[in-house]
C-alpha cells in the first residue's frame, strides 16, 4: 500500500462524504434543539431532485443549490409544524416525511423535464457540474493534498464545520439551542421562545439536508435517478450518534463511514485479496454505531465528558405542560 493509494482513497472518501456531512450537520442542528427528524432520506432525495431539475432548466448550478435548500427547508417545515405546533409523534412524522419525500421525488422525476425524453429527468445530462478546484501547491502535498483538490461545495463545508462548532458551543445562540434541547421548560422560564427556536433549527437542518442531496445530483453523480440517495438519509441518523451530537465531530464519522466504503472498493480494484468479505464491510458502519452507543453510555456514567443525546430529544413541548 503506497502513498498514492492512500491519497486516492482519501479523495474518494471526501467526494462521497461531502453530501453525508452536510446532512449530518443539519440533523445535529435539528436534534440539538430537541427535534428528531427521521425524514432526512426523503428531504435529501427531494433536494437532489429539485437541485437537478432547477440546474437543468436554468443552466445555473448555484440556482440549483438555492432551490434544493429551499425545498429541504420547506419539507422540514412540514415536520416542524407537525411535531412542534401539532405536537405529533416525531418518529411517525419523520417517517412520513421520508415516505412522502421519496415518493414525491420519484413521481416528479418522471414528470418534470423535457417531454422529448420518455422518462424525463432520468437520463438527462447537465452541461456542467461542480468541478474540482485544485489549490496551487497545497494539492501536491502527499496524502493531505487530496483535501485541496475538491469541489467548491466541499471547500464550503470546510468553513461550515468549524463555524457550526463555534456557533453551537461559543455563542449565545448556540447556548439557546442547546438549552432548548436539554431542558425546554428551563429555557422557557429564562424567556426563550422554545417553539420558535425549534422551528428555526429544524428548518436549517432541512436546508442543509437538501444541500447534501444536491451535492449528489449536481456534483458527485451529476444526474437524477429514482431513489438515488440509496439510504444515505438513514446513515445520517447513525452519523449523528457517531458524532455524539457535536457538529465539529461530524467529519470524523463521515471519514470512518465513507472511508470503509471507499476502502473496500479500492482494495478490490487493486486486486488485493480481501480477508474481510464485502458484505461485512457493507454493514460495518452500523456495527460501529452500536459500539459508539455503548461506549458513550459508559463514558457518560463515568462522567468523562458529555457524549449523550439532548435530554429533551423527541419530546414535544408546550408551555402549559405540567
Amino acid at each position: 500500500m503506497n502513498l498514492d493509494f492512500i491519497t486516492k482513497l482519501l479523495a474518494a472518501t471526501i467526494a462521497m462524504g461531502t453530501s453525508l456531512t452536510y446532512a449530518t450537520v443539519g440533523e445535529i442542528f435539528t436534534q440539538k434543539s430537541g427535534v428528531l427528524n427521521l425524514g432526512m432520506e426523503g428531504i435529501m432525495l427531494m433536494g437532489a431532485l429539485s437541485g437537478f431539475a432547477t440546474a437543468l432548466a436554468s443552466g445555473n448550478l448555484y440556482f440549483g443549490i438555492v432551490i434544493a435548500m429551499l425545498t429541504g427547508g420547506l419539507l422540514s417545515l412540514i415536520h416542524a409544524f407537525l411535531c412542534i405546533t401539532m405536537r405529533a409523534n416525531q418518529v411517525v412524522s419523520g417517517l412520513a416525511i421520508t415516505m412522502f419525500g421519496t415518493g414525491l421525488a420519484n413521481f416528479l422525476g418522471q414528470r418534470l423535464g423535457p417531454a422529448s425524453n420518455n422518462y424525463n429527468l432520468v437520463g438527462m445530462n447537465l452541461t456542467s457540474k461542480f468541478e474540482n478546484i485544485a489549490i496551487p501547491f497545497l494539492h501536491k502535498i502527499p496524502v493531505l493534498g487530496a483535501l485541496f483538490d475538491v469541489s467548491i461545495l466541499t471547500y464550503f463545508l470546510y468553513l461550515l464545520l468549524p463555524f457550526s462548532w463555534f456557533f453551537m458551543y461559543k455563542t449565545k445562540h448556540g447556548l439557546a439551542v442547546r438549552s432548548v434541547g436539554e431542558s425546554p421548560r428551563t429555557a422557557a422560564a429564562m424567556g426563550l421562545n422554545v417553539p420558535k427556536i425549534r422551528y428555526i433549527y429544524t428548518t436549517i437542518g432541512g436546508m442543509l439536508a437538501g444541500l447534501g442531496g444536491a451535492c449528489l445530483s449536481l456534483s458527485f453523480t451529476p444526474s437524477w435517478n429514482d431513489g438515488m440517495t440509496g439510504g444515505k438519509g438513514w446513515i445520517v441518523i447513525a452519523l449523528v450518534i457517531f458524532a455524539t451530537w457535536n457538529p465539529g465531530r461530524a467529519v470524523i464519522g463521515t471519514l470512518v463511514f465513507g472511508g470503509i466504503t471507499s476502502l473496500q472498493f479500492s482494495l478490490q480494484a487493486a486486486g488485493i485479496k480481501m480477508v474481510i468479505p464485502t458484505q461485512f464491510l457493507a454493514f460495518a458502519p452500523y456495527l460501529i454505531t452500536f459500539f459508539t452507543l455503548s461506549i458513550m453510555t459508559i463514558l457518560n456514567q463515568n462522567k468523562k465528558g458529555s457524549f449523550s443525546a439532548p435530554s429533551a430529544l423527541g419530546t414535544p413541548f408546550a408551555i402549559d405542560d405540567k
Partner: protein
C-alpha cells in the same frame, strides 16, 4: 389538537402510500381487449432493468394495437405485496401476467396455482407450473462480444467490471466478457469490484472510480444505472453499457457498445399464444438466435473492420458453430473447469460460481 395532528400524519401516510404503490396506468376501453398484466420490481424510469422490460411491453402494445390492454404495476416489492399485486391483476381480468424479477417467483407460483385459467410468465427464475412459465436470455453471449470490443480498444489491457452481486448470472457475464476480451488480447485482465447492490448510483460510481484510480481503461458493468459508465467517460476512458443503449443516453462515443435486452420478442409471441389458446408452459432461456438479446450500435471509435469481426463472431454463435463457454476453460486458480472441445452444459452455466483465467477478484 393532538387528534388533529394524528389525523394529519395519517393523511400524509395515506397520500404517500398512494405514491409508493406506483400508478396503475390503464389504456382506453375498447370492445373487450385482451388484458395483459405486468409487474415491475422498480420504476421503468430507472433506465435499466425495468425500463427495458417496459420497452418490451410497449413493443407488444404497438404490435397488438387495441387488441390488448396492458395494466402495469411499478415498484412492486419482492414480498407478499407481489401476491396482492398479482391477485389484483387477476381481478382486473388479465389473462396473461408477466412478472420481471427473480424473487417474485414463489408468489407467482402461489397465485398461478389459485388461478388455473390465467397464464403467468416469470422472468429469471426456475419454477414453473401448468399455467406458469419462466423465461430469461443468454446475455452472456452479448457480454462475450462486448468483451471482444473492450479487449480491442483498451490500450493497457486492464479492464474493469462493476458487479452487483456474486451470483451465477453476474459471474457468468463477467466470465464471458473476460473470455471475449482475451480472445482478442490474450494478456487482458478484468478486475471486478462488487457493490452488493443492484441500484445505488453513488456506490456504483464509487466502484467505477476505484477501478479507474487503479489504471483500468475500460469499465463494464452489471448494474442498473449509467453511473459506472459516466464515471469512465468523465475520466476520458471507455465504458461498456448494459440493459439499454448507454451511448444514446450519455451522448458519448466513449461508450463502445451496450449489451441490451429485447423482451418484446419474447412477450409478443407469448401474448399471441395466450390469445389463440395455444399457450404452453416452458422454461425458456433464449439466445442470439431468437433476438431476445442484442448489441447496441457500436461506437464510431471502434474500427469498422473490427466491428465486422465481432459481427462474424455473433453470426457464428447464432448459427451454433461457436459458443462462449467452449473448452478448454480454466478458472483463475489454474484448475480446468471445462474439458477441451466440449460445450458447457446449461446446468453448469446456471450454477457458475468461479472466475475464468484473467479475472482479478473473488466470488465471495
Amino acid at each position: 389538537m393532538k387528534k388533529l395532528s394524528v389525523l394529519l400524519v395519517l393523511l400524509l401516510v395515506i397520500t404517500v402510500s398512494a405514491f409508493a404503490q406506483g400508478q396503475t396506468e390503464m389504456s382506453e376501453e375498447t370492445d373487450a381487449p385482451f388484458k395483459v398484466g405486468v409487474i415491475y420490481v422498480s420504476s421503468p424510469g430507472d433506465f435499466g432493468y425495468s425500463y427495458m422490460h417496459d420497452m418490451g411491453t410497449k413493443a407488444a402494445e404497438e404490435y397488438f394495437g387495441d387488441k390488448i390492454e396492458v395494466i402495469r404495476m411499478e415498484n412492486v416489492p419482492e414480498n407478499d405485496s407481489a401476491a396482492r399485486a398479482l391477485e389484483q391483476l387477476v381481478d382486473e381480468g388479465c389473462k396473461i401476467i408477466f412478472a420481471n424479477s427473480y424473487n417474485y417467483q414463489d408468489y407467482v407460483l402461489q397465485v398461478a396455482k389459485e388461478n388455473p385459467d390465467v397464464y403467468f410468465e416469470h422472468c429469471s427464475g426456475y419454477l414453473s407450473n401448468e399455467n406458469m412459465s419462466n423465461y430469461f436470455g443468454r446475455m452472456y453471449q452479448m457480454r462475450y462480444l462486448s468483451g471482444m470490443i473492450a479487449g480491442k480498444m483498451s490500450p493497457t489491457g486492464k479492464l474493469g467490471y462493476v458487479g452487483a452481486f456474486a451470483i451465477p448470472e453476474v459471474i457468468r457475464g463477467i466470465n464471458a466478457f473476460t473470455l471475449g476480451a482475451r480472445a482478442v488480447n490474450p494478456d487482458a485482465t478484468v478486475t471486478v469490484v462488487w457493490t452488493n447492490t443492484w441500484f445505488d448510483p453513488s456506490l456504483e460510481r464509487q466502484g467505477a472510480m476505484a477501478l479507474l484510480d487503479q489504471g483500468v481503461d475500460v469499465v463494464a458493468q452489471h448494474q442498473d444505472t449509467t453511473e459506472p459508465a459516466k464515471a469512465a467517460i468523465a475520466e476520458g476512458k471507455y465504458a461498456i453499457g448494459y440493459n439499454a443503449d448507454f451511448r444514446a443516453i450519455t451522448e458519448s462515443d466513449n461508450v463502445l457498445v451496450s449489451p441490451m435486452w429485447d423482451w418484446g420478442n419474447y412477450m409478443i409471441p407469448e401474448i399471441q399464444a395466450a390469445m389463440d389458446g395455444t399457450w404452453e408452459t416452458q422454461s425458456y432461456w433464449g439466445g442470439l438466435e431468437d433476438d431476445m438479446i442484442s448489441l447496441s450500435p457500436v461506437s464510431p471509435l471502434v474500427p469498422a473492420d473490427f466491428v465486422a469481426q465481432v459481427e462474424a463472431a455473433k453470426d457464428m454463435i447464432a448459427a451454433g458453430e461457436m459458443d462462449v463457454f467452449w473448452g478448454e476453460i480454466k478458472d483463475n486458480e489454474g484448475n480446468v473447469r471445462q474439458a477441451a472441445g466440449e460445450k458447457m452444459s446449461d446446468a453448469d452455466m446456471l450454477s457458475m460460481g468461479w472466475f475464468v483465467e484473467g479475472v482479478i477478484g473473488s466470488t465471495n
